[in-house]
Symmetry: D2
Subunit: 304 residues, 4 copies
């Protein structure tokens, strides 16, 4: 993995870019945004940061999608951001059109690339991009929720976060489910009486952060950059992201713990307990029906 492209350089896009590049693991990075001068000025900022860190990654910045060529990984954050009070699904229609456009333009110049979707609603945008591009697309999915869950338990029990393991899966956002069969503290399961507050935290904390800070950046930015890193360095970390899967003839994206390296998969869904698998299946059905409906009502189908 030598070249990475970032499509979208808003707050979250900038944070992912920074966190992905600052350790110098790529030979080249391409910075794209539609806003005039933004990629170029952001390039300057990164160059200044690289100077103190001794990072020699080549940087290319552009407002032209045509300049995004030869990427091994493409990280997509382009689209409207989720604002306070807005549901992730509200964004569907507008951002789906942007994905359609990207799905047509990016693949011809970036053969063999892995696409990492971050634009919300993230799983559906991954499916939409997949639908129109036929490329391999993953969604950042619930890896952010996964880390929020671990972080909450660590703080609650005043232990290092490295003592907490486990995953959140299903849909990203309000319908994410903690996969309790995977969760442990110092190797022991978490008592059921605590489940509800953990689930509440995972659902409510992004809204809380957005209300005060205007958006979530440092958490998701770092976590998603670690997905990038695990692919680029072939670390094979297990992360709760959404990989493409067939469901009633449609490619859909629902988060499941999955091995993330130069190749992505297998998922370890089969190794979860029955209850957690049931939740994942329910999430898939729910995703699928909502997805079908949203495609219809927003007339995205007619784009192709």
């Amino acid at each position: 993995m030598k070249t990475i492209a970032f499509i979208g350089l808003g707050k979250i896009g900038q944070t992912i870019t920074y966190a992905s590049l600052i350790d110098g693991i790529f030979d080249q990075a391409i910075l794209y945004d539609i806003i005039p001068e933004l990629p170029e000025k952001f390039e300057h900022e990164l160059r200044h940061a690289f100077a103190t860190k001794g990072v020699n990654t080549d940087l290319i910045s552009s407002n032209r999608l045509d300049d995004v060529t030869g990427a091994d990984i493409v990280v997509i954050t382009a689209g409207k951001p989720r604002k306070a009070g807005m549901s992730r699904r509200d964004l569907f229609a507008d951002n789906a059109k942007i994905m359609y456009d990207l799905a047509k333009k990016l693949p011809p110049k970036n053969p063999g690339a892995i696409y990492l979707m971050v634009t919300n609603p993230v799983d559906m945008m991954a499916s939409i991009f997949s639908k129109f591009s036929k490329e391999y697309v993953i969604s950042a999915g619930d890896q952010v929720e996964t880390m929020r869950m671990r972080s909450y338990l660590a703080k609650k029990y005043k232990i290092p976060v490295t003592e907490v393991n486990g995953f959140v899966g299903g849909e990203h956002g309000e319908d994410a489910v903690v996969l309790w069969s995977t969760v442990s503290i110092k190797g022991n399961p978490v008592e059921e009486s605590v489940h509800q507050e953990v689930e509440n935290y995972v659902k409510q904390i992004p809204g809380e952060i957005i209300r005060v800070m205007g958006g979530t950046t440092w958490g998701p930015g770092t976590i998603i950059a670690d997905i990038v890193r695990s692919i680029a360095l072939n670390e094979n970390r297990v992360m709760s992201i959404a990989i493409p899967r067939e469901f009633e003839g449609e490619v859909i994206h629902v988060s499941i713990p999955v091995v993330v390296g130069r190749t992505i998969g297998p998922s370890i869904e089969q190794l979860l307990d029955e209850k957690d698998r049931w939740y994942l299946m329910a999430a898939m059905k729910d995703f699928h029906s909502t997805y079908r409906e949203l495609i219809k009502t927003s007339m995205i189908d007619q784009l192709s």
Copy 2:
């Protein structure tokens, strides 16, 4: 160095905090800002980031300055930010009052701490804080300009930035001077015909970035976090920061390449050529007279 405190959690404060903490080199960090809920919500963001990185640094967040205790390093970004078109000196009066307040409240609870000033006008705020606290204060000074200078030369000559060495000194901002006797590309001096455009870049690029992006964050944030790192890990890197020095009976801050480790200094001013030393002396005189005047006109003297 075990505990670090961050006073001010605006854009630049957040970026410095993130870049200082993400490698897990501190045992504890204290996050302070005057804005309600901001420290606490930023703490959540950092915890999420720490979860993926396996960082176990303890975090404390507060709106009360009283909770800032036992810090070994205190990074100050609190104050009004520099807006597009505004001179760094325009900020003097307002931010000096904030420094007066911090200088009275922080030292009693943080004995032996090193203070790193980032609030603009950065050198003067360092001097003001020093004046009222009698503590050891350094200013981030021209280390940011230093990296911008190297970055420009690297891009111009299409070489890795690690091939460019040298420093910018004097006052931070519009009056910073490239210390040409220290500058080299692959070990060779830079031809004089290029000097002007380099100096222009260093002066103009922050304004350009602010115009498009609303502020400079990634560059300064990373560079200033490397000052923190060099102190905390005792790396003894030579950096162009401003350390306190007596000048006509007053402690003032002007940037000079200086050894930055657990102890700070000596500066290598004596080892510069005559021309560069002349510029630094001129910068000190200029700083001193402006500083005296600003103190008078803003009636800061009457605070003590």
Copy 3:
């Protein structure tokens, strides 16, 4: 994970210790070896290295096993080393007695520790230690072979090693099998005509290195330190190590790709293709019968 202990400070033990500690991820490390003065002198060497790196991990060195207390992870390399021409199994009898001793003495003072076995024959020593201690023991297993396999393919095809994925499993050493259903180059399977030479390399390269260099250290040391890191930082990397499993009433150790974090497992055996699973089953049977026989002939059974 705050404290790590290293039992055995020979060449490989030193290399694992160094590579595990040099990034400063532990609070404390305990260095044990039976050779007088060796732990203490090695401690000095590490302290000198820590000084330049800014690492503040506490070090304790001792010739007394009693001083090994409170460890979260215990890495065991103690025992006779494998010499040129010697089979790993030749070592069984002598090293099993050492394991019996350690299994009796270490657990009482290190409650809840994870034991990582490196002493050869590594899988059998893990089983022996497990048998006598009833503690949770993993064997470094085939993670070293896994990296050798990837490294060979990368060199052969002149591509970055990060482009090669896949695992070696089964028994450590001569009987290790490449799990071809997991192996890929830039995402594509490896043609069968190449399989034999890869398998030969994995089997023969350690002997080649030992013949010229006297032992293998840098490869295994770094790879095993990454197992330690994945546990300590809860990275959840998938690695081919041997975790305890019941087989005909006996706990045995055979390498399978498994998730390695603060909790270890699940293995992804069920997700392999039929052929690879058949090989793993055969390895287990083979391991079991050899193990039973060696225990009998070396009269290890009579120790308990």
Copy 4:
């Protein structure tokens, strides 16, 4: 800095190589030793280590000095090692001949390279290499002693080593002097009553380690790799190494704290106190007279 060459792959050479390369900061590394198969087998070991770390540095190994081409930095450890009881100067004659040979063969194929001497007696070998090659040569000098001094004080006072600053200078080995005017603990000077035991430690610990472990590797290997890193990443750390200086018409090497980046220097000798400067001057005189004498008695002069 893209390519590094290692001349000599004994114990210390291997450790420096490993520690210099494992973070992936070079594009290419050339491994040379005179022992048949050693470079090639060591290359395999490094490749296995790189696989787990995701390092993609190109490796070239050879027994032919002719294959060492295009290096930006050349690290020389070739020569006879210092054995227990042997003075560093005993090695002079034999290793000087090796340096003569390298000085004739390496420069033509490695234009512009910086040579970092590690072979003992290290300062004299640097001067010899400089004499015959006219290239820019630095000696690892007293940076190892510097770290040993800091490490001793940290252990004695039970404080983190990052709280201790200061340097050892002069000749490498028995005649090294602690530059007390630079030494501090938490920013305060060290009481004189402690000086003697610190000096004793610095002088005696390498012999102690060699007696028990057969050689010093982890300490010097890591410390010297950090010299390499500071050059390659242009970190500008101040380190106590020996840079070439004219003394009575001869280029000699005596350790002084010096800025180590893409350019090396200035030294901060002028900033030391009078006592420390006197010691350094004495060391230079001593070095010079011994050096002249050794050159004569070993008839090295007649080589050119």
